[in-house]
């Protein structure tokens, strides 16, 4: 009798690689506002500060230019990320005892299913648009110089 194999075939590439993978799927489309609130003098603020850095990158911001990102620095408060969705719902991440990776994973778990799917253009319409684009790209032939 043999023991069935369980587990991964390869070793993990490390925490930074995992964060990078999560960061690739971060999308702010269904989000209206993100507020980072923390007291920098509290001990467990590394997570929220790292998240602030990661979510302020240009690539993430470009996913939704209308999304407002705020930082609120207050005295004696626990580090929280409050997110307002387009639907009106609010999410609150208490990051005191969380890891950067865990925050990103939870964020993606909630936000990624809410991203509106881009409608794929199929059939005749696609052909027409394509044809129109083709003529546009080509443009009218310039009148020959006399």
């Amino acid at each position: 009798m043999s023991v069935p194999f369980s587990g991964g075939f390869t070793r993990s590439a490390g925490i930074y690689s995992a964060i990078g993978k999560q960061l690739k799927s971060v999308n702010l489309k269904p989000i209206k506002q993100v507020v980072f609130k923390f007291d920098p003098f509290q001990p467990n603020v590394k997570t929220i500060r790292d998240c602030m850095f990661l979510l302020s990158s240009q690539r993430v911001l470009n996913t939704n230019p209308r999304c407002v990102i705020k930082t609120d620095i207050a005295d004696n408060c626990e580090p929280t990320i409050s997110i307002t969705l387009d639907e009106g719902k609010k999410l609150l991440f208490k990051t005191e005892n969380l890891n950067t990776l865990e925050v990103l994973q939870e964020f993606n778990k909630i936000v990624v299913p809410l991203i509106p799917k881009e409608e794929e253009i199929v059939g005749k319409v696609a052909g027409k648009i394509a044809a129109g684009a083709g003529t546009k790209a080509g443009g009218k032939p310039k009148p020959a110089r006399k």
Binding site: P40, F41, V45, K46, R49, D50, M52, F53, L54, S56, S57, Q58, T71, I73, D75
Partner: protein
Amino acid sequence: MAAIESTTRLIQFQSLLKPWLPTATAIRWRTRKPNVQRPIPDHYVKARYKAALEPIYPDPLVGMPWYQVCGNLLAKKEEEEVGKYEELLAKQFHTRFADAQLIAVLHENSTKAHEIIKIKQMLHGHNMQMVFGSRKIATMALANTEFEPVLRLHVGRTAYLCSKDLQISKLLKFTKKMTSFVLLGGIVQGRLLTRNELQWCSTLPDINMLRAELCSILTSSTSQLSQSLTYQQQQLARSLEQHVKQNGEMSCDGES
């Protein structure tokens, strides 16, 4: 005689202690160039001799306890050597801190180099300077100094804005313009303050005015005390004077 013996012995030893030098032998070839990278395997007998003469070293892990043999256990971190360049950076870091009267601690969000250049241009000529450094360099520079409490705020990406003048409102104005930096706190004349305290500090009037106010408050109580102590005597003196005046008038009237 002894000297001669010792020298002869030395010469004998020298012959033994000659360092081994790899010798280059010239190979004559005409038809086929010898393959240096993948040479022809040795003749069987030669190969056997070579294999027999290969040294066998003892396994270093034999006889060691399991906690040293196991490779999965994390080995103790060896103390890292501090590089000269790091030392230089730390020194620079500390001098900038020591020169400044006012230091703002900022959280750095992801920025591009051209944004930082713009900020530097904005600060140029205002006796202000941005100071960047990793946690390692900051600890090297600031540990065991008066600025040690700042290291508490140095978590993740942190930058500092050092100002040689004590103009808090001006510094706050500049930090507002830096969109990718978030003000966390600051050091005002060697005292660590939170962001709110910094803002309160900016509303305070000039320190010389405050000193004058304090002086007036301190002197007012002493003057009041002296006044209250001498009040009775002064009144007595005044009434006596009055009495003398009245008596003088009366005597004048009597004479007339």
